[in-house]
């Protein structure tokens, strides 16, 4: 550590203290202060650590959770930023909070969830460090924020270009992510799924229809979900790369886990992945690839996958007296379609609550709810007693389900969270709550007045 960076860390810690004393909950201000004093602070803080950056549209937080367990299973210590702090200021603040008064973070690994647009700023000074970068996938997300999906790919690319020596770990099934293979990086590993995940997913809902190189329509040997799958371009030959970590088959779908067959760098293994829903399998595969590259053997990997806590993977269960609440976060069409798939498997009988806000972090534009295939859920949800709608755009959500032919007799709009929670509590029924990001935060704040809750992980 240089004297300057140590001083910057102190200043950051001081700012954090002041914020705490004054009761302001801001998490990014300390980072801003530190960056002002020492713009390349992250280089100093991460100098003696191995760095793993995880970026991509969906699954960052869950992938980070699994990687963290993998690192610890290998007998190493790890520092992570919280999910809500994945922009530059947040990452710096998290580092500063974890650093001792000598200005150092005394851990083996720094595991950093990075917002796609913020990646290039976070890694700007990481050029000389030992870095692994994982790109989970690229989907259409909060269009009004990032523009088109290609913009997202280019932002990630701009980050990776600054790190020509890093190990890259890419989603083989995502034609957008896997297009990053033309970067000059020597070590690139792929994870993917070698067969369709389940029947009935629409092949029309795609964020990448035309070849990123020659603009010819992709063909597919199989789809897993969204635009993910065995894509190939007949014209220019761009196609899915063979995966180093490949899921070959889901042997059994269980409530909250899946038993799978996979190949890990040439070795066939059977594993139970303790995460609910098919989309989480990709997160498990990404983490497995990282685990292999940091030296875990397959036995250790299988053991970690089988021991994951079910708090991961966007699902959170809360008992509100007799009412079992399942809180599920939705951020974009691809993620929401996976939740639809999950709900189809659940065949809910109690209540389903849909909550939609249109704040910045949710996406100001709510048109994405029309890219969610609620029509597939209509029949499976017919046994539910009530559909509640909440959040700033509750009425738009209600209308969306009317158009999907849900039974409007069961519709109730309730924008007041307290009233809604009281009602759910009195009814005592199992309830699935599917909420957009800020709606989730607001709802949980209110719910915490009724029952103790754990600190929130964003996914």
């Amino acid at each position: 550590m240089s004297a300057r960076s140590t001083f910057a860390v102190w200043a950051g810690k001081f700012t954090t203290k002041v914020l705490k004393l004054t009761g302001s909950g801001g998490t990014t201000l300390p980072g801003k202060v530190v960056l002002k004093l020492c713009p390349d602070i992250l280089k100093h803080l991460a100098k003696d650590m191995k760095v793993i950056c995880v970026t991509g549209t969906n699954g960052k937080t869950t992938t980070c959770h699994v990687i963290r367990d993998m690192i610890e299973a290998g007998g190493n210590t790890v520092f992570c930023n919280d999910a809500g702090a994945n922009m530059l200021g947040g990452v710096v603040s998290a580092f500063v909070a974890a650093a001792g008064m000598n200005g150092k973070v005394d851990k083996d690994y720094a595991l950093l969830e990075c917002d796609e647009a913020a990646l290039r700023y976070i890694v700007e000074h990481f050029g000389e460090l030992d870095v692994t970068a994982v790109v989970t996938n690229v989907f259409r997300d909060q269009l009004d924020r990032y523009g088109e999906v290609l913009t997202t790919v280019n932002k990630i690319r701009a980050g990776l270009e600054q790190l020509p020596n890093v190990k890259l770990i890419l989603n083989a099934d995502c034609s957008l992510t896997s297009s990053l293979q033309d970067l000059p990086h020597k070590e690139i590993y792929y994870f993917g799924v070698n067969a369709p995940l389940y029947e009935g997913t629409s092949k029309d809902i795609s964020d990448a229809v035309y070849c990123i190189h020659c603009k010819t329509k992709y063909k597919y040997d199989y789809h897993t979900f969204g635009h993910l799958g065995g894509f190939y371009c007949e014209k220019c030959g761009y196609k899915r790369h063979d995966a180093d970590v490949a899921l070959s088959k889901v042997l059994e779908w269980k409530d909250g886990s899946e038993v799978v067959e996979m190949n890990v760098f040439g070795e066939n293994v059977k594993a139970e992945v303790m995460l609910p829903g098919g989309y989480n399998l990709y997160n498990a595969l990404a983490a497995t690839t990282v685990a292999h590259t940091i030296g875990l053997n397959t036995e250790q990997i299988v053991s970690v996958l089988g021991g994951l806590s079910t708090h991961f993977g966007r699902m959170e269960e809360v008992m509100l007296d007799d009412a079992k609440l399942h809180l599920v976060l939705v951020k974009n069409p691809a993620g929401f379609n996976e939740v639809v798939q999950f709900l189809i498997q659940q065949r809910p009988t109690g209540n389903i609550v849909f909550g939609l806000n249109d704040n910045f972090a949710d996406g100001k534009d709510i048109s994405w709810i029309y890219d969610v295939e609620f029509e597939r859920l209509t029949e499976a949800a017919a046994g539910a007693d009530n559909f509640f709608f909440t959040g700033k755009r509750a009425y738009d959500m209600q209308l969306r389900l009317k158009l999907a032919d849900f039974d409007t007799e069961k519709f109730h709009v309730e924008k007041d969270y307290k009233t809604l929670i009281t009602m759910l509590k009195q009814q005592g029924k199992e309830t699935f709550l599917v909420l957009s990001y800020t709606c989730m935060l607001e709802f949980r704040d209110k719910l915490a007045e009724f029952v103790p809750l754990q600190k929130y992980a964003k996914e």
Binding site: L143, D144, E148, V149, L150, D204, S206, V209, Y210, K215, K217, D358, K364, D365, I366, S367, W368, I369, Y370, D371, K392, R393, A394, Y395, D396, Q398, L399, R400, K402, L403, A404, D405, T408, F411, V413
Partner: protein, 249 residues
């Protein structure tokens, strides 16, 4: 009784589908089926126009810039003559955002280069360095002189300018509209309805959905469309209009 049928063409369904455009088709289908009228949706992509092309409504959505090049190529190779003829003969056409621009004469980039578009309606679009984005409201006036608000979301760089023979869809109350300067939004020409209100325009603007359906139905069957309630639709419309500070509803 369902022997009446409205045939909808979802043009470039797999390219111009950026913003939940399926919501518009679904609304048309739903409001027809609630009246006991069948809907046939033909999804048309690159290549020749299908032979079975007696469309009553043509819907064109918005897309990404990435695909514009291949789109324009196909437009001139296969669709231009047909689409112009459909416009002139009065087929109901709903075009949104990129689809709207594409019906116009051309797009002029910041450096002055022009990309020729269909030239089906007398409007053109120029590049703008400012992105016009956000919830917006405009007031639409029917042929009978009745005015009602349309609420949607706009997200565009291009500024569109109306020429002779084309009138706006409405007058901007909140937001930018065609160009952020002259308070106009969208374009009306014959039975073309073009707007920047992207993606699911029709679900909560049920009256404009019924306007399109009425014209299409009357052209085909020579009789009016039966009225249909739109309570839940209005609830969504009014709720967001009020959130945006528009209380004239």
């Amino acid at each position: 009784m369902a022997d009446k049928l409205i045939h909808i063409c979802h043009l470039y369904y797999d390219i111009l589908n950026l913003y939940g455009d399926n919501g518009n088709i679904r609304t048309l289908e739903k409001r027809l089926s609630m009246r006991g009228i069948d809907t046939k949706v033909s999804r048309v992509t690159f290549g020749p126009v299908p032979e079975d092309n007696d469309y009553d409504i043509i819907f064109i959505g918005g897309g990404q810039d990435f695909e514009q090049e291949i789109l324009v190529k196909d437009l001139f190779e296969y669709k231009a003559d047909w689409l112009k003829a459909e416009i002139e003969k009065g087929t109901v056409i709903l075009a949104i955002c990129g689809g709207y621009q594409m019906l116009g004469k051309y797009y002029e980039a910041a450096d002055g280069t022009k990309v020729d578009f269909l030239g089906g309606i007398n409007v053109y679009t120029t590049a703008n360095d400012k992105r016009m984005i956000g919830n917006f409201i405009y007031e639409y006036t029917t042929d009978d002189g009745e005015t009602f608000p349309i609420v949607g979301f706009e997200n565009h760089n291009g500024q569109t300018w109306l020429g002779d023979g084309v009138r706006p869809m409405g007058t901007i109350v909140k937001g930018f509209g065609n160009n952020g300067e002259d308070k106009t939004e969208g374009a009306r020409y014959k039975n073309v309805f073009a707007t920047y209100s992207h993606g699911p325009l029709l679900p909560k603007n049920a009256r404009i959905a019924d306007e399109l359906l009425s014209i299409a139905y009357e052209r085909k069957y020579g009789e009016g469309l039966s009225p249909l309630e739109h309570e839940m639709e209005d609830a969504a419309l009014i709720d967001i209009a009020h959130q945006l500070g528009y209380n004239n509803i």
